[in-house]
Structures are given as structure tokens and as C-alpha cells.
């Protein structure tokens, strides 16, 4: 048993709770937007699902990526980026994006993606949207464990293994 004594350290931490207010917000059901209006949030849900739709893993909105963005952008993005993002969201809202058929949604977002490649990050709605959509989804529990492969404590390091059939990429 002594050989495994070092594992005791981890058990101390697994019993601890150090969750911040953000996590409490996540735990609320039903969830509410804190920054965006209900209609902005609906537009955002449609946008994140156009970027990361359901495939062999759930869609971005199934991982609450739109709620993540509603919290993370006002907290983490620069004031200019926040403004760019909200303006862009309203433009998509004005086009009734959430209610459009998927092919129209794809066409609209494709046009915006092209137009938004040249501007700097803070002035590019698409760059900001994609950044937060990907980090919101792929670092969520669903994204990391279902769309990707994830081990919080791998138990060691194996440097050179054959790639397993349909192996997912590591989330981190």
C-alpha cells in the first residue's frame, strides 16, 4: 500500500470544492443569459451550431456554448471586441438568423466569415465568435470528452503509440 501513498494527495483535493461564482451560474437551471437578451442568445445559439453542428458528437449549443460566450465575452474580451461582437450579433438577429433554414444560415455566415478575415481581431465579429465558440465547446465537458479525447489524470506518459482507429485528438 505504501507504494501508492502518493495517490492519497489527490484524494484530499477531490473532496474539495473551490468553485467560483461562474460555476454557480452554470449550475442554475433553467439557465439565463447574464449579458445578452433572450433574442440575442437565440441568434447566438444558431450561430454556434452553424460553426459546430451535431456530427458524431453533440452540437455546440448542447454543451451550452452560447451561455459560455454570454459570460466569457463581457468578462474576458476587450471593450472594443465586446462592442464588435454585440453589433455583429444584432446584425444577424436583424436577418432572423435563428429561424432561417440551415443552407441559408451557412451561406450568410460564409459571407461574413470571408468579409471578416482581413480586419484585426477586435474589429472582426467572425474571429471573436469562432474563438469563443471553439474554446467554449472543446473545453466543455461534452466537447472535451465526446467530440475529443480527454484525461484529467492520464496516469503517466506514453510517447509513441500506434494511432487507434478513429482516434480523437486530445482536448488539452
Amino acid at each position: 500500500m505504501k507504494r501508492r501513498a502518493f495517490l492519497h494527495g489527490a484524494s484530499v483535493l477531490l473532496g474539495s470544492s473551490a468553485l467560483g461564482t461562474v460555476l454557480e451560474a452554470f449550475a442554475e437551471t433553467p439557465r439565463k443569459a447574464t449579458w445578452l437578451s433572450a433574442s440575442e442568445l437565440a441568434t447566438l445559439a444558431a450561430l454556434v451550431d452553424t460553426i459546430l453542428p451535431a456530427t458524431d458528437s453533440p452540437a455546440a449549443s448542447a454543451a451550452d456554448t452560447h451561455y459560455f460566450i454570454d459570460l466569457a465575452i463581457p468578462a474576458c474580451a476587450s471593450p472594443a471586441a465586446q462592442q464588435t461582437f454585440r453589433k455583429g450579433l444584432r446584425e444577424f438577429g436583424a436577418k432572423n438568423f435563428a429561424k432561417l433554414p440551415p443552407d441559408k444560415q451557412i451561406a450568410l455566415l460564409k459571407a461574413r466569415a470571408q468579409k471578416d478575415q482581413a480586419p484585426e481581431y477586435d474589429q472582426s465579429f467572425f474571429k471573436i465568435l469562432k474563438d469563443y465558440t471553439l474554446s467554449g465547446y472543446f473545453l466543455s465537458e461534452i466537447g472535451a470528452t465526446k467530440a475529443l479525447a480527454y484525461e484529467q489524470v492520464p496516469g503517466g506518459y506514453w510517447g509513441d503509440l500506434p494511432l487507434a482507429p478513429d482516434q480523437k485528438a486530445w482536448a488539452i
Binding site: 466569457a72 474554446s135 503517466g156
Partner: protein, 560 residues
């Protein structure tokens, strides 16, 4: 003065050097007081974020604007995120003046920066110890490899390190556990190097204070690579997990956190240092502690600031500053030159776990042949991976095919940067402004450092060599870079109280004693005479253990 204010030894600081001083002094049977300016931090129990998943951390571990406002310098570090921010100082509470841009990354807590260090532990060789004398740069080291080699052994055996011995004279062999395995790309590069560079340039697994096997009840590494959060398995070396518990086990340790040392107490009549004055960080009250010897291990800039703030009739310009060199000859490494590359073969190979170290290319410049363009040399850290979802963040693509693509392992990627030696230069320095005090009455530190022509010429070659080597290895999209580095950014700040043989040109002697105050030892980075290319912490630990041994001998002999 009450008895509780009297000890055999006082150690200022509980980081890598202070932890070692504490362990060695306590194990010699000396009652030892460790003064740490930062807050208490219990091993394991206080590593609250250590086992958090990304989604359990605020904003999936992304720093907020409020974080960056409180820690504008600390938050620029690659290690900084929601999981590690508590281990870095609030820059607004602890201001310093950048006479030239200088990034000062600090951790004010028990264990100091030993919690967040990058854990590379290489030895210096006589190529390093003899360089200043050979080239007429700065002053000569008062020691040679044979003086420190037994202490490298002593430290390595206790801390536990893994990695690979290079077999090269400029990177002496060490006591190492088996290395972490190379991945398929690294094995490929290693093979190509062997074909192209005739053993002169090698790829090895870095010597790292991370355990690949169990050692004294610690480890092995569980493959999280989240060391800076603190390790619940004690698999990497920190003061909190290793030296402080060893010191405490002797019964001789008293650890006093929240104790900001203001200055050393100098007794003019007895002509010696008798103790230290502190300000309690919480109560703001001052307090004095007394001991026969004092070890300053508060980190390069803070140890020297304490000496500069210790003024007396005998030492009007700061304790031990007869030479006028105190505060001068500040160095850091520079790591602006390197390369990125990719590789679209070996795609049937992958890895599991997150390796908590890098690969390494030991120094090869100015070893066998003398370079025309610059003195000294550099070693490279090499990082490789297979692309994951982050490759999708840029670009205009989206949708189902896009998502399917980026959730599968992509091409191999590689990033390498050189770590170059910086020459000692009197003009690179720190000093204190007594008229500007923080809330604890401690004078403001000013820093002025710039890289010189030698470093600039070296950085260019660092880039060119990285490109040459990765092209020789057959990698694709090889792109060199050579970006400007803000001094301090490598977090290897050193010098400012250098060792030497001559009291006229140095602050410390060959045993890290202040020439004119031999019961004061300075054993952190401030003692450094030159900066070699290798990561310096192992040398601080070895010099500290050696200095404690010397202090104990002199105390026994009654000479201090």
C-alpha cells in the same frame, strides 16, 4: 529581546534556494527561522485548482480583464491562467520602476517560484566557470566545476530528476532517473541529427526535476503537465513538497510567513550582522530577529534590495557594498531566436498523457570552434505535438466537415527556442529609491537592463541554426523567428551581488559570504558571476547546500 526572537540561523525566503538553506541548516542541528514575505501555502491541501477540469474553471480557464488589471505583468506569462493566477503577485500591490522595460514575474507565498518553475535542471561545466577569465569579460568565478560537482550530486539525489545524459563535456553527466519517452517525431529528429551532425548536435530529453519513477514516497508523474497549479502527487520538486517538509521533520524549523524583511541589523560595535528587521505583512508591525548567521535567499532583486536598504556607518551604501558592485551586473537569458515547423508524415503514431518537460539540444557554439560573431552559446528547448482543435480557431472554415477534421489528430507541430547566455555588464543594474516606499515602508526597486551587441548577434545565429537543424531533419514549413525579448521574461534574473575573489570587484566570496560580513550568505541568483546557457536553479541549490556546509564548519570553529 525575548528568547523566541533568537535562532542559530535565519533564512530569508522559502523558494528554491531558501528551502534548501532551511533543510541543510536544520539537518545540521541548527535552530532555523525561515522568513517568507508571502502568505502560507500548504502542500497539496492548498492546490485547489490542481485537479480541476477546464470546464470547472471560470471561463474554461481564460483570464479575465479584471485579472489582467490586477496582474498586468504577471498575466503576460505563458503559464498564467485561472488555474495558476493565485501563485503570482498582484502587480499593483508590489510596484517596481522599469527604468528600462523589465518583466518581473514573482510568487509571494511559501515556496515562492519553486511552485511554478519550469523544472529544467542542468549542470554548469568548466566551459562556463572559466569563460569570463578566458575572454576578459566581467570577473572570474571564484570556483570551478570540481568545487561544485559533489554538491550537484548531493542536490540531484535528493530532489529526484529524470532525463538523459548527453555525453557532452559542456553538459556534465547527472544523477537522473530514466527519461520520459520521445514521441515519433522526436525519435525521427534524433535519428536525422545523428546522421547529419556527427554527435556535435544532439536531441535529448531535458534533465527535469519531474519524477519518472517513485522517489522517497513521491511521484511518479501522472502526466497532467499542470505543475504550476501545484502537484498532488509531489512529482516535481518544490520547496513546499520536498525541502520544507524535510526541514520541519528535524524539529529545528520555524517558518514565519507574512514576514517582509526590511533590512539586516548591523552592530557597529561588534562589527557584525546580528539579525534582521521585518514588517509583518498583515499587522504592519515591525519585529527583530537575531541569529549567528543569515542566509539571504529572497530572489535576485529582493535579496540585493535588502542589502541596499541595510545602511550603517560602516556600510553607508548598503551592506557589503564596499566594491560599489552591489546592484550591478544584472543578467537574464534571452530566448528570442528559434523556429517553428510541421511534419505531415508519421501520422499513424500518437502519444498519451501530457509530458511535463521538453526535449533539449545542448550548446554547440563556441565549444569545439571559436565563433567570429559572438562569445558564448545557447541550448534549445524543443516542443512537439500533433495538432488538435486549436488549429481551427483561425481561418474562415466552419461546419460539420470542419468539426470532424479538427477533432482528429492533425499534422505534427514543432516549436523550438534557444536560451542564450547574456554577458555580465556593469550598466545593467537595479537600485532602490528610499523616498518611494510601498505600504510596508519598503523602498521601491528600480531596474534598468538592456541586451547588448553580443546577445543580438547570438540571437540571429540562434534563429539560423534552428532553421538549419529542422530543415536537416526533413521538417516542413520551417520558419525562423528572432523577436525582441524584454529582459526578465526568461525569469532567470541573476547577478547584482556577484561572487569573486577580490573584495574590490565583488560582493561575495567563493562560499557566498559577504566579504566584509562573513556571517551573511547570499545564495540565490544574485550571486551569479556569469549566466551560462543552462537553466540556473540547480546551481542555486548546489551553491546553497555548499554554503550551508561551510557556514556550519565556520560556526563550529567559532570564526563566525
Amino acid at each position: 529581546m525575548s528568547d523566541t526572537n533568537k535562532y542559530d540561523a535565519i533564512v530569508v525566503g522559502s523558494g528554491i534556494s531558501g528551502g534548501w538553506a532551511a533543510k541543510e541548516l536544520c539537518e545540521k542541528g541548527l535552530k532555523t527561522l525561515v522568513l517568507e514575505r508571502g502568505h502560507p501555502l500548504r502542500h497539496i491541501e492548498d492546490y485547489k485548482t490542481a485537479l480541476k477540469n477546464p470546464w470547472e474553471l471560470p471561463h474554461n480557464n481564460r483570464a479575465t480583464n479584471a485579472d489582467k488589471a490586477a496582474q498586468p505583468i504577471q498575466s503576460t506569462l505563458y503559464l498564467y491562467d485561472q488555474s495558476t493566477k493565485k501563485h503570482f503577485v498582484n502587480d499593483n500591490l508590489h510596484p517596481y520602476t522599469q527604468a528600462q522595460p523589465f518583466n518581473w514575474y514573482r510568487g509571494y507565498q511559501v515556496g515562492g517560484r519553486s511552485l511554478m518553475w519550469a523544472r529544467h535542471v542542468f549542470r554548469y561545466s568548466d566551459l562556463d566557470f572559466e569563460a569570463n577569465q578566458r575572454e576578459g569579460v566581467g570577473i572570474d568565478w571564484p570556483i570551478r566545476y570540481k568545487d561544485i560537482a559533489p554538491w550537484y550530486d548531493h542536490v540531484e539525489k535528493f530532489i529526484g530528476a529524470s532525463g538523459e545524459n548527453s555525453g557532452l563535456a559542456q553538459l556534465p553527466s547527472q544523477n537522473l532517473q530514466p527519461p520520459f519517452e520521445m514521441n515519433a517525431l522526436e525519435k525521427h529528429i534524433r535519428g536525422r541529427f545523428a546522421e547529419k551532425f556527427a554527435g556535435e548536435r544532439k536531441l535529448i530529453c531535458s534533465a527535469t526535476a519531474v519524477l519518472s519513477r517513485e522517489h522517497n514516497g513521491r511521484g511518479p508523474c501522472q502526466g497532467r503537465n499542470q505543475c504550476a497549479r501545484g502537484c498532488p502527487y509531489s512529482a516535481y520538486f518544490s520547496s513546499n513538497g520536498v525541502t520544507l517538509p524535510a526541514a520541519a521533520a528535524t524539529g529545528n524549523l520555524t517558518l514565519r510567513p507574512d514576514s517582509i524583511v526590511h533590512s539586516l541589523i548591523y552592530d557597529e560595535g561588534a562589527d557584525k550582522v546580528t539579525g534582521v528587521r521585518i514588517v509583518d505583512a498583515a499587522t504592519m508591525k515591525t519585529q527583530e530577529y537575531f541569529a549567528r548567521v543569515v542566509f539571504l535567499c529572497a530572489s535576485t532583486l529582493n535579496s540585493t534590495a535588502i542589502l541596499l536598504n541595510s545602511r550603517s556607518l560602516r556600510f553607508p551604501d548598503g551592506l557589503g557594498n564596499d566594491s560599489g558592485e552591489l546592484g550591478h551586473n544584472l543578467m537574464d537569458h534571452h530566448n528570442g531566436g528559434g523556429a517553428t515547423a510541421s511534419y505531415s508524415k508519421l501520422l499513424d503514431r500518437y502519444y498519451r498523457g501530457r509530458r511535463a518537460t521538453s526535449m533539449y539540444i545542448p550548446r554547440f557554439r563556441n565549444v569545439a570552434r571559436k565563433e567570429e560573431k559572438f562569445k558564448r552559446g545557447y541550448g534549445y528547448e524543443v516542443y512537439t505535438w500533433r495538432d488538435s482543435w486549436t488549429r481551427g480557431v483561425g481561418g474562415a472554415e466552419f461546419g460539420a466537415d470542419f468539426k470532424n477534421g479538427i477533432t482528429r489528430p492533425g499534422d505534427w507541430g514543432l516549436y523550438t527556442e534557444g536560451y542564450g547566455e547574456t554577458l555580465s555588464n556593469h550598466e545593467n543594474r537595479m537600485w532602490i529609491s528610499p523616498e518611494k516606499q510601498d505600504r510596508w515602508g519598503i523602498p521601491r526597486i528600480n531596474v534598468s537592463m538592456t541586451y547588448g551587441e553580443n546577445e543580438k548577434a547570438m540571437a540571429q545565429q540562434m534563429m539560423d541554426d534552428a532553421v538549419e537543424m529542422m530543415e536537416a531533419a526533413g521538417l516542413e514549413n520551417v520558419k525562423g523567428f528572432n523577436h525582441a525579448v524584454t529582459p526578465g521574461s526568461v525569469i532567470h534574473e541573476m547577478g547584482t551581488a556577484r561572487m569573486g575573489r577580490d573584495p574590490k570587484t565583488s560582493v561575495l566570496n567563493g562560499f557566498n559570504q559577504i566579504h566584509a560580513a562573513p556571517n551573511v550568505f547570499v545564495t540565490d541568483g544574485s550571486c551569479m558571476v556569469s549566466s551560462p546557457t543552462q537553466n540556473p536553479s540547480l546551481t542555486y541549490m548546489a551553491l546553497t547546500a555548499r554554503a550551508v556546509n561551510h557556514a556550519a564548519e565556520e560556526m563550529k570553529a567559532g570564526s563566525i
